[in-house]
């Protein structure tokens, strides 16, 4: 668990873990991944009841967070979700709830109750299929009277198939804007993608001349602050999920090294294996540390929140590959079998590495944040 948590937060995270282990353990995730079982809609109303989707929603709409620090609380849930590879990306719903809370119209705010309760899910369509994560990526907007027409394709939308609403980033006259669209908006279609990750599903959101009224805008056009804040929150929550997954993958590998024998000894007694495990655990601890720093900074909206969020996404994105590769190596042949859970982690981490910005994109962003 991320350190420095209050008693309330601890209880919140422990309840989350208990729920996951009894309702949707990795064995269930695997069956969903292999399409042998579909994720029950009840999962979302249950996690809605647990409060995972209400953290960024004001109390009058059924929201609230245990500690009053929604980013940190969401980080704790994200860590557990990553640890157990939970399906159904909820980062999008939380981000959409935050966007509406911060900038939504009265009409949009009516949706908050459903989002908080898990009765409706939302996804954030930010990046384009080529891997750009600027608001303007992939979609063009033209004005049409008081409204707008959106055209283009957003890529790598997490679990779009579950979403009733899409928060779509785009640029209007060169200025970033956010639009809230229902999944059944005319001209909007979801093109499911095949992919490496088996535990989340990804899709392209294709917008063919989608006519959007002015009332669909969330916040101000050119209200850069809102989009920036959403990016930070989405990045650090994705990082928290990755840290959960990396930690569990490492724990699984350490356990393997403690038990697997070769040449009459457990392999974890060989210095070469011990040193690899030490290096991997360093990567895990560094990932935890930068994730904690980034979550805290984003929660507190400190001036360095943007760079810490990007640094965390960049570092943990690289560490995810290193830890995945190191753990696969130490497992040997058994880790190469479909039946072993290792590859589920490996696939999810390689994908989360890219979602809401891959390391190279965030590194370039860090330079720009510093005016270079």
């Amino acid at each position: 668990m991320l350190p420095g948590v209050t008693a309330d937060q601890k209880l919140f995270a422990e309840t989350a873990e208990r729920f996951i282990r009894s309702t949707c353990p990795v064995s269930t995730v695997r069956r969903v991944a292999q399409r042998e079982e579909e994720l029950d809609g009840g999962y979302f109303t249950e996690i809605g009841e647990l409060g995972w989707l209400a953290l960024f929603v004001p109390e009058e709409h059924g929201g609230g967070s245990p500690s009053g620090q929604p980013v940190l609380d969401a980080g704790l849930i994200a860590e557990q979700r990553g640890r157990y590879l939970q399906p159904g990306g909820i980062v999008g719903s939380n981000v959409a709830a935050l966007a509406i809370t911060l900038g939504g119209t009265g009409e949009q705010r009516a949706l908050l109750d459903d989002l908080a309760g898990g009765k409706a899910l939302a996804a954030w369509a930010l990046g384009d299929p080529a891997g750009g994560w600027e608001a303007s990526a992939g979609v063009a907007v033209r004005r049409d009277g008081t409204g707008f027409v959106l055209s283009g394709t957003k890529g790598l939308v997490q679990d779009a198939h579950l979403a009733g609403w899409f928060l779509v980033s785009a640029a209007v006259d060169g200025r970033p804007a956010l639009f809230l669209l229902p999944a059944d908006a005319p001209g909007l279609s979801i093109e499911p993608l095949a992919g490496l990750d088996l535990t989340h599903r990804y899709a392209e959101l294709v917008l063919r001349d989608v006519a959007v009224p002015a009332s669909a805008v969330v916040g101000q056009i050119g209200g850069d602050d809102l989009g920036e804040r959403l990016l930070q929150v989405a990045a650090v929550l994705t990082v928290a999920e990755m840290v959960g997954a990396i930690g569990e993958l490492f724990a699984m590998t350490l356990e393997h090294a403690r038990n697997r024998a070769a040449f009459g000894r457990v392999i974890g007694s060989f210095q070469a294996v011990k040193h690899q495990l030490a290096d991997l655990s360093l990567a895990v601890e560094c990932s935890r540390a930068i994730a904690t720093g980034a979550l805290t900074a984003v929660q507190e909206q400190t001036p360095d929140a943007a760079e810490l969020a990007s640094a965390a996404k960049a570092f943990v994105g690289d560490a995810a590959i290193d830890v995945s590769q190191g753990c696969l190596q130490l497992h040997g042949g058994i880790g190469y079998t479909w039946e072993h859970d290792l590859h589920l982690y490996l696939r999810r981490l390689a994908t989360d590495r890219v979602v809401f910005g891959d390391p190279a994109w965030h590194r370039e962003r860090i330079c720009r944040l510093h005016g270079l």
């Binding site: 990046g127 384009d128 299929p129 080529a130 891997g131 890529g155 790598l156 093109e191 499911p192 993608l193 095949a194 992919g195 490496l196 990750d197 990804y202 038990n259 697997r260 024998a261 070769a262 040449f263 009459g264 000894r265 457990v266 060989f270 070469a272 294996v273 590959i321 590769q325 696969l328 190596q329 040997g332 042949g333 058994i334 880790g335 190469y336 079998t337 479909w338 039946e339 072993h340 290792l342 590859h343 490996l346 696939r347 390689a350 994908t351 590495r353 890219v354 891959d358 190279a360 994109w361």
Partner: protein, 416 residues
Amino acid sequence: MSGQTADDLEAYRREVRAWLAANLDPRDDDAPARLRGGDAANLSPERVAQQRDLQRRVHEGGYTGITWPAEFGGQGLTPAHEEIFAQESRGYVVADLGIAGLTTTRVCGPTILAHGTDEFRRTHIPRMLSGEEIWVQLFSEPGAGSDLAGVSTRATRTDAGDWVLNGSKVWTSGAYYADYGLCLARTDPTVPKHRGLTWFGVPLTSDGVTIRPIREINGSSEFCEEFFDDVVVSDANRIGAVGDGWTVARTMMVFERLGGDPDESPRHSGARELAPDLVALARRVGRQDDPVTRQLIARAHVIDLVKEQLDAYVAAQAESGTANPNLGSYSKLAAGTLNPVRASIGLEIAAAAGVAWHPEDTEASTTALNYLNGRILAIAGGTNEMQRNGISERILGLPREPAHDLDRPFNELRHN
């Protein structure tokens, strides 16, 4: 036999040419030389039967086991004759029995020739040459990977003098279409691990044998695992003396190294493409002009060149005859450490396109598959760690690891 003259060889070549032209089909050059490992799972029963027929035709023509002793069904000729047949037959369709076929003639056959009884050799070698018997190696176990001699599969002797096998084997290529397995089993767990082992030829149709494909993380199934439940094996099927299995294993490992897949490291022949998979990828995602991407592409190409040059360098030293016989570990470790780097480069270039794609786009999953497969050579056939041990001890001459398991009885050792 060593007295053959150039004329003899020329006559042989003419004879081969005539036979090939009369009996085999010319090869379509675009077809792959033989099925690669990755496709081994695609060998249908019909295809296997067809290839066995083809193999029998060549055998009946007298062109299998060219250097093997005539008394066991070979031709008793020289490596020069074998080379002539190899050269001449290159343009014809010859039998392709996949990896198990290669294992039969390059590993199991030579091992049985070296250690089998006369009776066993007379029975089985000709059938191996004719395609009637396909053999696989049953060596690795779920509980014994790097520790090759740590096998737990038990062979217990019956009062009648036969043996009963119990245990399991794993990572066997092509077992699902094989007839026999050359199986290493523990016949005495009360002595140190290298001393209580014995080999058996096990008919894979025996009662109690279960063969299952292993599904790998990339979704395909190249390998099998085998389970033995009270499988009765005749003592006549024993290869080598009881308890002498490690001697036989060492022979086998030499043949395994020599008989390595000839297509795996083709010598460079002229033009090279610049990391074609990655250039294609970069173009797909529109990053071919991005300096960061170009650096990554060139890094991958340099990896490709270095591996190619290292293989050639190691081969050149091996040909000199005086080189350290363990230099091949460098090629193995280079692949085991550089392949994962190259696979990760793909992810870096691809970004979003590397992890999700349109289902109908058949090329789009290449980057992800390469990533999943990137560590195969870091693990299979001797892990990076085993190569590093070998290099440091057998090439650099550093002290061996203190061994805790060489002198103690196997059943007192910690094992899986």
